[in-house]
Subunit: 87 residues, 2 copies
């Protein structure tokens, strides 16, 4: 068994209104960042998984997304798997 | 001016307690994901930036982190810049 770090990002679908992102966009404009065209906010989960292969870790991570971490009606997710580095 | 997509992830420093991550770890164990060794939660911001080069976009993104998006006492951040794809 090896340890893998799954970086799971969960973001709202593009068609879903994102008030947090709009607020951050406005705040960045007020701070002088006039080049900001838009902000979408999301969640990030770094999951340490014990698995025999990165393929198994990937499939476990995707199952976690569908069963707990993401709301498939409003959100989409992506998972990146990497061997765990020492932190 | 080109458009770049900055994927900014903001996570708690490893030494900072993360109750949300602990709760998710426990929930995943209850769902049968026994291979989960730990979860750290964080935030993700996808910022669309108009800039002349990816280097300028990178430096703008890092300035946004230090001035608004991250709390440097408790959090660390990383920025990845990519040319904007059509969505």
């Amino acid at each position: 068994m090896s340890r893998f770090l799954a970086s799971i990002s969960v973001t709202l679908k593009p068609t879903v209104n994102d008030p947090e992102g709009l607020t951050i966009t406005s705040a960045l404009h007020n701070l002088g960042f006039s080049g900001v065209a838009g902000v979408r906010s999301g969640k990030l989960f770094e999951v340490t998984i014990e698995a025999t292969s990165s393929e198994e870790a990937q499939s476990l991570a995707e199952e976690m997304c569908t069963r707990l971490l993401a709301n498939p009606v409003m959100e989409r997710y992506s998972c990146r798997i990497a061997p765990e580095e020492q932190t």
